[in-house]
Protein backbone atom coordinates (compact mmCIF):
# COMPACT_ATOMS: atom_id res chain seq x y z
CA UNK A 1 0.00 0.00 0.00
CA UNK A 2 1.30 3.41 -0.88
CA UNK A 3 1.27 5.97 1.89
CA UNK A 4 0.48 9.62 1.37
CA UNK A 5 3.33 12.11 1.59
CA UNK A 6 1.87 13.48 4.81
CA UNK A 7 1.78 10.09 6.51
CA UNK A 8 5.38 9.47 5.52
CA UNK A 9 6.39 12.90 6.83
CA UNK A 10 4.76 12.31 10.22
CA UNK A 11 6.35 8.87 10.38
CA UNK A 12 9.83 10.18 9.64
CA UNK A 13 9.46 13.37 11.67
CA UNK A 14 6.93 12.70 14.39
CA UNK A 15 5.66 15.94 15.99
CA UNK A 16 5.51 16.22 19.77
CA UNK A 17 6.65 12.70 20.41
CA UNK A 18 7.22 12.02 24.10
CA UNK A 19 5.54 12.02 27.51
CA UNK A 20 4.51 14.26 30.37
CA UNK A 21 4.43 13.04 33.95
CA UNK A 22 0.89 11.77 34.42
CA UNK A 23 0.55 13.23 37.90
CA UNK A 24 1.65 16.71 36.82
CA UNK A 25 -0.97 19.42 37.28
CA UNK A 26 -3.07 20.17 34.23
CA UNK A 27 -1.99 17.01 32.40
CA UNK A 28 -4.61 14.72 30.91
CA UNK A 29 -3.60 11.28 29.65
CA UNK A 30 -5.48 9.03 27.27
CA UNK A 31 -4.34 5.50 26.42
CA UNK A 32 -6.47 3.64 23.90
CA UNK A 33 -6.16 0.46 21.88
CA UNK A 34 -4.57 -2.86 22.82
CA UNK A 35 -1.33 -4.62 21.86
CA UNK A 36 -3.33 -7.65 20.64
CA UNK A 37 -5.09 -5.42 18.13
CA UNK A 38 -1.83 -4.06 16.80
CA UNK A 39 -2.22 -0.49 17.98
CA UNK A 40 -1.94 1.44 21.22
CA UNK A 41 -1.98 5.23 21.38
CA UNK A 42 -0.99 7.36 24.32
CA UNK A 43 -1.98 10.99 23.97
CA UNK A 44 -1.33 13.64 26.59
CA UNK A 45 -2.39 17.26 26.91
CA UNK A 46 -1.16 20.00 29.20
CA UNK A 47 -3.82 22.57 30.04
CA UNK A 48 -3.37 26.06 31.44
CA UNK A 49 -6.32 28.41 31.83
CA UNK A 50 -8.55 26.12 29.84
CA UNK A 51 -6.17 26.18 26.88
CA UNK A 52 -4.05 23.25 25.70
CA UNK A 53 -0.55 24.66 25.81
CA UNK A 54 1.25 21.46 24.92
CA UNK A 55 0.51 17.94 23.72
CA UNK A 56 2.54 14.75 23.38
CA UNK A 57 2.01 11.28 21.96
CA UNK A 58 3.49 7.82 21.84
CA UNK A 59 2.07 5.21 19.51
CA UNK A 60 2.53 1.51 18.86
CA UNK A 61 0.93 0.85 15.51
CA UNK A 62 1.24 1.17 11.78
CA UNK A 63 2.40 4.30 9.96
CA UNK A 64 -1.12 5.64 9.69
CA UNK A 65 -1.70 5.26 13.42
CA UNK A 66 1.55 7.07 14.15
CA UNK A 67 0.68 9.86 11.71
CA UNK A 68 -2.88 10.21 13.09
CA UNK A 69 -1.67 10.70 16.64
CA UNK A 70 1.21 12.95 15.61
CA UNK A 71 -1.21 15.14 13.66
CA UNK A 72 -3.64 15.16 16.60
CA UNK A 73 -0.99 16.68 18.88
CA UNK A 74 -0.36 19.44 16.35
CA UNK A 75 -4.05 20.25 16.16
CA UNK A 76 -4.57 20.14 19.92
CA UNK A 77 -2.01 22.79 20.75
CA UNK A 78 -3.60 26.19 21.19
CA UNK A 79 -7.15 24.87 21.29
CA UNK A 80 -9.42 25.29 24.31
CA UNK A 81 -10.61 22.13 26.01
CA UNK A 82 -14.01 22.60 24.45
CA UNK A 83 -12.63 23.12 20.93
CA UNK A 84 -10.42 20.05 21.27
CA UNK A 85 -13.46 17.90 22.00
CA UNK A 86 -14.82 18.76 18.57
CA UNK A 87 -11.93 17.27 16.54
CA UNK A 88 -13.42 14.56 14.33
CA UNK A 89 -11.73 11.49 12.92
CA UNK A 90 -13.00 12.38 9.45
CA UNK A 91 -10.87 15.52 9.52
CA UNK A 92 -7.81 13.38 10.23
CA UNK A 93 -8.74 11.02 7.39
CA UNK A 94 -9.01 13.94 5.03
CA UNK A 95 -5.81 15.66 6.10
CA UNK A 96 -3.71 12.47 5.87
CA UNK A 97 -5.48 10.96 2.86
CA UNK A 98 -6.06 7.71 4.72
CA UNK A 99 -7.43 4.81 2.66
CA UNK A 100 -10.58 3.01 3.92
CA UNK A 101 -8.63 0.20 5.65
CA UNK A 102 -6.84 2.83 7.76
CA UNK A 103 -9.88 4.75 8.96
CA UNK A 104 -9.75 2.87 12.27
CA UNK A 105 -6.42 4.63 12.96
CA UNK A 106 -8.17 8.01 12.84
CA UNK A 107 -11.00 6.70 15.04
CA UNK A 108 -8.41 5.61 17.55
CA UNK A 109 -6.83 9.08 17.49
CA UNK A 110 -10.22 10.70 18.14
CA UNK A 111 -10.78 8.25 21.02
CA UNK A 112 -7.36 9.12 22.40
CA UNK A 113 -8.18 12.85 22.34
CA UNK A 114 -11.49 12.26 24.12
CA UNK A 115 -9.85 10.01 26.66
CA UNK A 116 -7.12 12.57 27.41
CA UNK A 117 -9.71 15.35 27.77
CA UNK A 118 -11.82 13.24 30.12
CA UNK A 119 -8.80 12.40 32.22
CA UNK A 120 -7.92 16.08 32.48
CA UNK A 121 -11.48 17.02 33.46
CA UNK A 122 -11.65 14.28 36.06
CA UNK A 123 -8.40 15.38 37.61
CA UNK A 124 -9.48 19.02 37.56
CA UNK A 125 -12.67 18.17 39.43
CA UNK A 126 -10.79 16.18 42.02
CA UNK A 127 -8.17 18.85 42.69
CA UNK A 128 -9.78 22.27 42.90
CA UNK A 129 -6.46 24.11 42.74
CA UNK A 130 -6.41 23.66 38.99
CA UNK A 131 -8.20 26.73 37.74
CA UNK A 132 -10.84 26.81 35.09
CA UNK A 133 -11.82 23.21 35.67
CA UNK A 134 -15.46 24.00 36.26
CA UNK A 135 -15.97 25.83 33.03
CA UNK A 136 -14.81 22.93 30.93
CA UNK A 137 -16.66 20.12 32.63
Amino acid sequence: MAYSEKVIDHYNNPRNMGSFKKEEDGVGTGIVGAPECGDVMKLQIKVENDTIVDAKFKTFGCGSAIASSSLATEWLKGKTVEEAGKIKNTEIVQELNLPPVKIHCSVLAEDAIKSALNDYKKKAEESPKVESAASSS
Binding site: E36, G38, C62, H104
Partner: protein, 404 residues
Protein backbone atom coordinates in the same frame (compact mmCIF):
# COMPACT_ATOMS: atom_id res chain seq x y z
CA UNK B 1 25.05 -2.48 -4.10
CA UNK B 2 21.75 -1.69 -5.77
CA UNK B 3 18.56 -0.57 -4.05
CA UNK B 4 15.87 -1.73 -3.44
CA UNK B 5 17.01 -5.00 -1.89
CA UNK B 6 14.85 -8.07 -2.39
CA UNK B 7 14.51 -10.15 0.78
CA UNK B 8 11.15 -11.75 0.10
CA UNK B 9 12.29 -14.94 -1.62
CA UNK B 10 9.61 -17.09 0.05
CA UNK B 11 7.05 -15.08 -1.81
CA UNK B 12 8.63 -15.44 -5.20
CA UNK B 13 12.07 -15.42 -6.80
CA UNK B 14 13.46 -13.78 -9.90
CA UNK B 15 14.08 -16.02 -12.89
CA UNK B 16 17.69 -17.11 -13.10
CA UNK B 17 19.17 -15.73 -16.37
CA UNK B 18 20.25 -19.28 -17.26
CA UNK B 19 16.62 -20.33 -16.99
CA UNK B 20 15.47 -17.52 -19.25
CA UNK B 21 18.11 -18.46 -21.77
CA UNK B 22 16.86 -22.04 -21.87
CA UNK B 23 13.28 -20.88 -22.34
CA UNK B 24 13.76 -18.36 -25.13
CA UNK B 25 13.90 -20.68 -28.18
CA UNK B 26 10.59 -22.21 -27.12
CA UNK B 27 8.75 -18.94 -27.59
CA UNK B 28 9.77 -18.46 -31.22
CA UNK B 29 11.53 -21.22 -33.20
CA UNK B 30 10.38 -24.18 -31.12
CA UNK B 31 6.81 -23.07 -30.64
CA UNK B 32 5.09 -26.37 -31.45
CA UNK B 33 2.40 -28.03 -29.40
CA UNK B 34 4.12 -30.81 -27.51
CA UNK B 35 1.04 -32.95 -28.05
CA UNK B 36 1.30 -32.70 -31.84
CA UNK B 37 2.48 -36.15 -32.87
CA UNK B 38 2.68 -35.72 -36.62
CA UNK B 39 5.33 -33.13 -37.34
CA UNK B 40 8.75 -31.97 -36.25
CA UNK B 41 7.41 -28.84 -34.53
CA UNK B 42 5.55 -31.05 -32.09
CA UNK B 43 8.45 -33.45 -31.68
CA UNK B 44 10.86 -30.65 -30.91
CA UNK B 45 8.59 -29.27 -28.21
CA UNK B 46 7.98 -32.73 -26.83
CA UNK B 47 11.72 -33.23 -26.54
CA UNK B 48 11.95 -30.05 -24.48
CA UNK B 49 9.12 -31.22 -22.23
CA UNK B 50 10.63 -34.69 -21.82
CA UNK B 51 13.96 -33.24 -20.81
CA UNK B 52 12.33 -30.91 -18.31
CA UNK B 53 10.28 -33.74 -16.85
CA UNK B 54 13.51 -35.67 -16.29
CA UNK B 55 15.25 -32.70 -14.69
CA UNK B 56 12.32 -32.16 -12.35
CA UNK B 57 11.93 -35.86 -11.50
CA UNK B 58 15.65 -36.13 -10.79
CA UNK B 59 15.55 -33.31 -8.24
CA UNK B 60 12.97 -35.21 -6.17
CA UNK B 61 14.12 -38.75 -7.01
CA UNK B 62 10.93 -39.64 -8.85
CA UNK B 63 10.16 -41.26 -12.18
CA UNK B 64 9.52 -38.69 -14.95
CA UNK B 65 6.15 -40.31 -15.56
CA UNK B 66 5.12 -39.34 -12.06
CA UNK B 67 5.34 -35.61 -12.77
CA UNK B 68 2.06 -33.89 -13.63
CA UNK B 69 2.37 -30.29 -14.75
CA UNK B 70 -0.05 -27.75 -13.32
CA UNK B 71 -0.26 -23.97 -13.19
CA UNK B 72 1.46 -23.90 -9.80
CA UNK B 73 1.47 -25.32 -6.30
CA UNK B 74 -1.97 -23.91 -5.48
CA UNK B 75 -3.47 -25.93 -8.31
CA UNK B 76 -1.42 -28.98 -7.32
CA UNK B 77 -2.73 -28.76 -3.74
CA UNK B 78 -6.29 -28.33 -4.99
CA UNK B 79 -5.95 -31.27 -7.35
CA UNK B 80 -4.54 -33.48 -4.61
CA UNK B 81 -7.19 -32.80 -2.02
CA UNK B 82 -10.21 -32.60 -4.31
CA UNK B 83 -8.96 -35.33 -6.62
CA UNK B 84 -8.40 -37.79 -3.77
CA UNK B 85 -11.72 -37.00 -2.10
CA UNK B 86 -13.65 -37.51 -5.31
CA UNK B 87 -11.79 -40.68 -6.26
CA UNK B 88 -11.84 -42.36 -2.85
CA UNK B 89 -15.05 -41.02 -1.36
CA UNK B 90 -16.46 -44.51 -1.01
CA UNK B 91 -13.53 -45.51 1.18
CA UNK B 92 -13.98 -42.66 3.60
CA UNK B 93 -14.52 -38.97 4.15
CA UNK B 94 -11.86 -37.85 6.59
CA UNK B 95 -8.74 -35.75 5.95
CA UNK B 96 -5.93 -34.95 8.38
CA UNK B 97 -3.95 -31.75 7.92
CA UNK B 98 -2.32 -29.12 10.14
CA UNK B 99 -3.22 -25.62 11.25
CA UNK B 100 -0.12 -24.02 9.73
CA UNK B 101 -0.56 -25.28 6.17
CA UNK B 102 -0.57 -22.83 3.31
CA UNK B 103 -3.94 -21.34 2.47
CA UNK B 104 -3.98 -23.43 -0.72
CA UNK B 105 -4.44 -26.50 1.50
CA UNK B 106 -6.45 -24.97 4.36
CA UNK B 107 -8.95 -23.20 2.16
CA UNK B 108 -9.34 -26.25 -0.07
CA UNK B 109 -9.98 -28.36 3.04
CA UNK B 110 -12.54 -25.80 4.20
CA UNK B 111 -14.27 -25.93 0.82
CA UNK B 112 -14.41 -29.73 1.10
CA UNK B 113 -15.85 -29.46 4.61
CA UNK B 114 -18.81 -27.61 3.12
CA UNK B 115 -19.37 -30.67 0.97
CA UNK B 116 -19.50 -32.95 3.99
CA UNK B 117 -15.85 -33.99 4.27
CA UNK B 118 -14.52 -34.13 7.83
CA UNK B 119 -11.18 -32.43 8.40
CA UNK B 120 -8.85 -32.60 11.40
CA UNK B 121 -6.50 -29.62 11.69
CA UNK B 122 -3.63 -30.71 13.90
CA UNK B 123 -2.05 -28.25 16.30
CA UNK B 124 1.69 -27.72 15.99
CA UNK B 125 4.37 -27.33 18.63
CA UNK B 126 5.66 -23.91 19.57
CA UNK B 127 8.49 -24.41 17.09
CA UNK B 128 5.88 -24.95 14.38
CA UNK B 129 6.42 -28.67 13.98
CA UNK B 130 3.74 -31.30 13.48
CA UNK B 131 4.11 -34.21 15.88
CA UNK B 132 3.89 -37.49 13.92
CA UNK B 133 2.19 -39.17 16.88
CA UNK B 134 -0.61 -36.60 16.63
CA UNK B 135 -1.08 -37.70 13.04
CA UNK B 136 -1.25 -41.33 14.12
CA UNK B 137 -3.77 -40.55 16.84
CA UNK B 138 -6.02 -38.62 14.49
CA UNK B 139 -6.40 -41.51 12.04
CA UNK B 140 -9.84 -43.12 11.88
CA UNK B 141 -11.15 -45.92 9.67
CA UNK B 142 -12.61 -43.17 7.48
CA UNK B 143 -9.31 -41.33 6.88
CA UNK B 144 -8.45 -41.22 3.17
CA UNK B 145 -5.82 -38.49 3.07
CA UNK B 146 -3.09 -36.93 5.18
CA UNK B 147 -1.78 -33.57 3.99
CA UNK B 148 1.22 -32.04 5.79
CA UNK B 149 3.60 -29.44 4.41
CA UNK B 150 7.32 -30.02 4.09
CA UNK B 151 8.46 -26.54 5.17
CA UNK B 152 6.40 -23.62 6.34
CA UNK B 153 6.31 -20.50 4.18
CA UNK B 154 6.38 -18.06 7.10
CA UNK B 155 8.64 -19.57 9.72
CA UNK B 156 10.56 -22.06 7.58
CA UNK B 157 10.09 -24.94 10.03
CA UNK B 158 10.72 -28.30 8.37
CA UNK B 159 8.30 -31.07 9.35
CA UNK B 160 9.31 -34.70 10.04
CA UNK B 161 7.77 -35.81 6.75
CA UNK B 162 9.50 -39.21 6.54
CA UNK B 163 8.07 -40.23 9.92
CA UNK B 164 4.59 -39.10 8.91
CA UNK B 165 5.02 -40.92 5.60
CA UNK B 166 5.73 -44.13 7.47
CA UNK B 167 2.59 -43.76 9.56
CA UNK B 168 0.51 -43.08 6.46
CA UNK B 169 1.90 -46.17 4.79
CA UNK B 170 1.33 -48.40 7.83
CA UNK B 171 -2.30 -47.34 7.75
CA UNK B 172 -2.72 -47.49 3.99
CA UNK B 173 -3.61 -43.81 3.74
CA UNK B 174 -2.60 -41.55 0.86
CA UNK B 175 -0.07 -38.93 1.94
CA UNK B 176 0.08 -35.54 0.25
CA UNK B 177 2.85 -33.06 0.98
CA UNK B 178 2.91 -29.40 0.01
CA UNK B 179 6.64 -29.10 -0.61
CA UNK B 180 6.56 -25.71 -2.31
CA UNK B 181 9.05 -24.06 0.04
CA UNK B 182 11.31 -27.06 0.42
CA UNK B 183 11.93 -28.46 -3.06
CA UNK B 184 15.09 -27.03 -4.54
CA UNK B 185 16.30 -25.71 -1.19
CA UNK B 186 16.73 -28.90 0.83
CA UNK B 187 17.21 -32.50 -0.34
CA UNK B 188 13.86 -34.07 -1.23
CA UNK B 189 13.52 -37.76 -2.04
CA UNK B 190 9.95 -38.95 -2.54
CA UNK B 191 10.95 -42.53 -1.64
CA UNK B 192 12.62 -41.56 1.61
CA UNK B 193 9.81 -39.19 2.54
CA UNK B 194 7.17 -41.75 1.69
CA UNK B 195 4.90 -39.23 0.01
CA UNK B 196 2.26 -40.28 -2.53
CA UNK B 197 1.42 -36.80 -3.78
CA UNK B 198 3.68 -33.78 -3.61
CA UNK B 199 3.03 -30.22 -4.77
CA UNK B 200 5.74 -27.77 -5.75
CA UNK B 201 6.26 -24.74 -7.89
CA UNK B 202 8.70 -23.19 -10.34
CA UNK B 203 8.69 -19.54 -9.32
CA UNK B 204 9.95 -20.28 -5.82
CA UNK B 205 13.13 -21.79 -7.23
CA UNK B 206 14.19 -19.17 -9.78
CA UNK B 207 12.00 -20.51 -12.57
CA UNK B 208 9.10 -18.79 -14.32
CA UNK B 209 5.71 -18.10 -12.73
CA UNK B 210 2.64 -19.95 -13.96
CA UNK B 211 3.97 -23.49 -13.80
CA UNK B 212 4.14 -26.05 -11.04
CA UNK B 213 3.99 -29.78 -10.64
CA UNK B 214 2.27 -32.50 -8.75
CA UNK B 215 4.21 -35.67 -8.07
CA UNK B 216 1.76 -38.58 -8.32
CA UNK B 217 3.05 -41.97 -7.18
CA UNK B 218 2.64 -44.76 -9.74
CA UNK B 219 3.82 -47.74 -7.74
CA UNK B 220 3.17 -48.88 -4.17
CA UNK B 221 0.50 -47.55 -4.17
CA UNK B 222 -0.62 -46.33 -7.57
CA UNK B 223 -2.45 -43.12 -6.72
CA UNK B 224 -5.46 -42.16 -8.80
CA UNK B 225 -7.05 -38.74 -8.92
CA UNK B 226 -10.30 -37.44 -10.27
CA UNK B 227 -9.20 -34.55 -12.52
CA UNK B 228 -10.46 -31.01 -11.96
CA UNK B 229 -9.79 -29.89 -15.52
CA UNK B 230 -11.10 -32.07 -18.31
CA UNK B 231 -10.11 -31.93 -21.95
CA UNK B 232 -7.52 -33.51 -24.19
CA UNK B 233 -6.31 -35.99 -21.61
CA UNK B 234 -2.85 -34.49 -21.16
CA UNK B 235 -0.72 -35.39 -18.16
CA UNK B 236 -2.08 -38.94 -17.88
CA UNK B 237 -5.58 -37.52 -17.90
CA UNK B 238 -5.07 -35.78 -14.59
CA UNK B 239 -4.66 -32.29 -15.96
CA UNK B 240 -5.80 -31.51 -19.47
CA UNK B 241 -4.61 -28.48 -21.39
CA UNK B 242 -1.79 -27.75 -23.82
CA UNK B 243 1.47 -27.56 -21.93
CA UNK B 244 3.09 -24.11 -21.72
CA UNK B 245 6.31 -25.48 -23.17
CA UNK B 246 8.56 -22.46 -22.49
CA UNK B 247 7.49 -22.50 -18.83
CA UNK B 248 7.96 -26.26 -18.59
CA UNK B 249 11.47 -25.96 -20.05
CA UNK B 250 12.30 -23.12 -17.65
CA UNK B 251 10.97 -25.11 -14.69
CA UNK B 252 13.16 -28.03 -15.73
CA UNK B 253 16.26 -25.88 -16.02
CA UNK B 254 15.51 -24.27 -12.65
CA UNK B 255 15.35 -27.72 -11.04
CA UNK B 256 18.60 -28.77 -12.66
CA UNK B 257 20.37 -25.67 -11.31
CA UNK B 258 18.95 -26.21 -7.83
CA UNK B 259 20.17 -29.78 -7.82
CA UNK B 260 23.67 -28.81 -8.93
CA UNK B 261 24.04 -25.90 -6.52
CA UNK B 262 21.93 -26.97 -3.55
CA UNK B 263 24.64 -27.99 -1.11
CA UNK B 264 26.88 -24.96 -1.57
CA UNK B 265 23.94 -22.57 -1.83
CA UNK B 266 22.35 -23.85 1.39
CA UNK B 267 25.64 -23.40 3.20
CA UNK B 268 26.01 -19.85 1.89
CA UNK B 269 22.43 -18.91 2.82
CA UNK B 270 22.70 -20.31 6.33
CA UNK B 271 25.81 -18.19 6.86
CA UNK B 272 24.08 -15.05 5.60
CA UNK B 273 20.96 -15.75 7.62
CA UNK B 274 22.84 -16.42 10.84
CA UNK B 275 24.85 -13.24 10.33
CA UNK B 276 21.59 -11.32 9.81
CA UNK B 277 20.14 -12.66 13.03
CA UNK B 278 23.34 -12.14 15.00
CA UNK B 279 23.79 -8.59 13.67
CA UNK B 280 20.26 -7.62 14.63
CA UNK B 281 20.10 -9.29 18.03
CA UNK B 282 23.50 -7.93 19.05
CA UNK B 283 22.16 -4.40 18.72
CA UNK B 284 18.57 -4.87 19.85
CA UNK B 285 17.01 -6.39 22.94
CA UNK B 286 13.78 -8.37 22.97
CA UNK B 287 13.95 -9.79 19.49
CA UNK B 288 12.44 -13.27 19.30
CA UNK B 289 12.93 -16.01 16.73
CA UNK B 290 9.74 -17.58 15.42
CA UNK B 291 9.92 -21.19 14.31
CA UNK B 292 12.45 -23.92 14.85
CA UNK B 293 16.05 -23.01 15.69
CA UNK B 294 17.67 -25.69 13.54
CA UNK B 295 15.02 -27.55 11.53
CA UNK B 296 14.47 -24.56 9.30
CA UNK B 297 14.85 -23.58 5.65
CA UNK B 298 18.33 -22.20 4.93
CA UNK B 299 17.17 -18.75 3.78
CA UNK B 300 14.47 -18.22 6.39
CA UNK B 301 14.56 -15.88 9.35
CA UNK B 302 11.35 -14.85 11.11
CA UNK B 303 11.77 -12.42 13.98
CA UNK B 304 9.39 -10.58 16.31
CA UNK B 305 10.53 -7.16 17.46
CA UNK B 306 8.71 -6.53 20.73
CA UNK B 307 6.92 -3.17 21.17
CA UNK B 308 6.94 -2.21 17.49
CA UNK B 309 4.31 -2.96 14.88
CA UNK B 310 5.35 -4.87 11.77
CA UNK B 311 3.86 -2.69 9.10
CA UNK B 312 5.33 0.44 10.66
CA UNK B 313 8.67 -1.32 10.68
CA UNK B 314 8.38 -2.21 7.00
CA UNK B 315 7.61 1.42 6.31
CA UNK B 316 10.85 2.38 8.01
CA UNK B 317 12.87 0.13 5.71
CA UNK B 318 11.03 0.86 2.50
CA UNK B 319 14.02 0.13 0.31
CA UNK B 320 14.12 -3.48 1.56
CA UNK B 321 11.41 -5.87 0.37
CA UNK B 322 10.22 -7.90 3.36
CA UNK B 323 7.03 -9.37 4.67
CA UNK B 324 5.28 -9.12 8.03
CA UNK B 325 2.81 -11.19 10.02
CA UNK B 326 1.14 -7.99 11.16
CA UNK B 327 -2.59 -7.70 10.65
CA UNK B 328 -2.12 -4.45 8.78
CA UNK B 329 -0.27 -6.21 5.99
CA UNK B 330 -2.87 -8.94 5.53
CA UNK B 331 -6.09 -8.75 3.59
CA UNK B 332 -8.03 -10.14 6.54
CA UNK B 333 -6.76 -7.64 9.13
CA UNK B 334 -5.88 -10.58 11.35
CA UNK B 335 -2.31 -11.25 12.42
CA UNK B 336 -0.58 -14.30 10.96
CA UNK B 337 -2.53 -17.50 11.67
CA UNK B 338 0.73 -19.43 11.49
CA UNK B 339 2.31 -17.45 14.33
CA UNK B 340 -0.92 -17.64 16.34
CA UNK B 341 -0.88 -21.42 15.89
CA UNK B 342 2.59 -21.55 17.47
CA UNK B 343 1.18 -19.78 20.49
CA UNK B 344 2.94 -16.51 19.69
CA UNK B 345 0.87 -13.77 21.34
CA UNK B 346 -1.07 -11.45 19.05
CA UNK B 347 1.16 -8.59 20.14
CA UNK B 348 4.31 -10.38 18.98
CA UNK B 349 2.58 -11.65 15.85
CA UNK B 350 1.90 -8.02 14.94
CA UNK B 351 5.60 -7.36 15.48
CA UNK B 352 6.95 -10.09 13.21
CA UNK B 353 9.08 -9.74 10.11
CA UNK B 354 9.96 -12.49 7.67
CA UNK B 355 13.35 -12.28 5.99
CA UNK B 356 13.61 -14.54 2.95
CA UNK B 357 17.15 -14.80 1.63
CA UNK B 358 17.80 -16.19 -1.80
CA UNK B 359 20.27 -16.94 -4.56
CA UNK B 360 20.97 -13.35 -5.50
CA UNK B 361 21.42 -11.84 -2.04
CA UNK B 362 24.87 -10.78 -0.94
CA UNK B 363 26.74 -10.28 2.33
CA UNK B 364 26.77 -6.55 1.64
CA UNK B 365 22.97 -6.50 1.43
CA UNK B 366 22.76 -8.35 4.72
CA UNK B 367 25.01 -5.78 6.44
CA UNK B 368 22.92 -2.95 5.03
CA UNK B 369 19.73 -4.64 6.23
CA UNK B 370 21.08 -5.10 9.75
CA UNK B 371 21.92 -1.42 9.98
CA UNK B 372 18.57 -0.27 8.62
CA UNK B 373 16.54 -2.64 10.79
CA UNK B 374 18.33 -1.57 13.96
CA UNK B 375 17.73 2.11 13.19
CA UNK B 376 14.08 1.59 12.29
CA UNK B 377 13.36 -0.47 15.41
CA UNK B 378 15.03 2.12 17.64
CA UNK B 379 13.09 4.92 15.93
CA UNK B 380 9.81 3.10 16.57
CA UNK B 381 10.63 2.01 20.09
CA UNK B 382 11.34 5.61 21.03
CA UNK B 383 7.80 6.28 19.84
CA UNK B 384 6.23 3.22 21.45
CA UNK B 385 4.13 3.63 24.61
CA UNK B 386 4.54 -0.12 25.20
CA UNK B 387 8.31 0.15 25.24
CA UNK B 388 8.08 3.06 27.63
CA UNK B 389 5.78 1.14 29.96
CA UNK B 390 7.96 -1.95 29.85
CA UNK B 391 11.01 0.17 30.68
CA UNK B 392 9.10 1.61 33.65
CA UNK B 393 8.60 -1.92 34.86
CA UNK B 394 4.93 -2.26 33.95
CA UNK B 395 3.93 -5.84 33.12
CA UNK B 396 2.00 -5.31 29.90
CA UNK B 397 0.09 -8.52 30.42
CA UNK B 398 -1.55 -7.13 33.57
CA UNK B 399 -2.73 -3.90 31.95
CA UNK B 400 -6.45 -3.60 31.30
CA UNK B 401 -6.49 -2.52 27.67
CA UNK B 402 -9.48 -0.80 26.18
CA UNK B 403 -9.75 -3.18 23.22
CA UNK B 404 -11.38 -1.75 20.15
Amino acid sequence: MKLPIYLDNHSTTPCDPRVVEAMLPYFTEKFGNSASRNHSFGWESEEGVDKARKQIAQLIHADPKEIVFTSGATESDNLSLKGVVEMYREKGDHIITSSTEHRAVIDTAKALEKKGVKVTYLDVGKDGMVNPEDVRNAITDKTILISIMLANNEIGTINPIAEIGKIAKENGIIFHCDATQGVGKIPVDVQELGVDLMAFSSHKIYGPKGIGALYVRRKGPRVRLEPMIHGGGHERGMRSGTLPVPLVVGFGKACELCEQEMASEAERLIKLRDRLEEGITKELEEVYLNGHRTERLPGNLNLSFAYVEGEALLMGVKEIALSSGSACTSATLEPSYVLRALGVGSDLAHSSIRFGLGRFNTAEEVEYTIDRMVKAVNHLRAMSPLYEMAKEGVDLKTVQWAAH
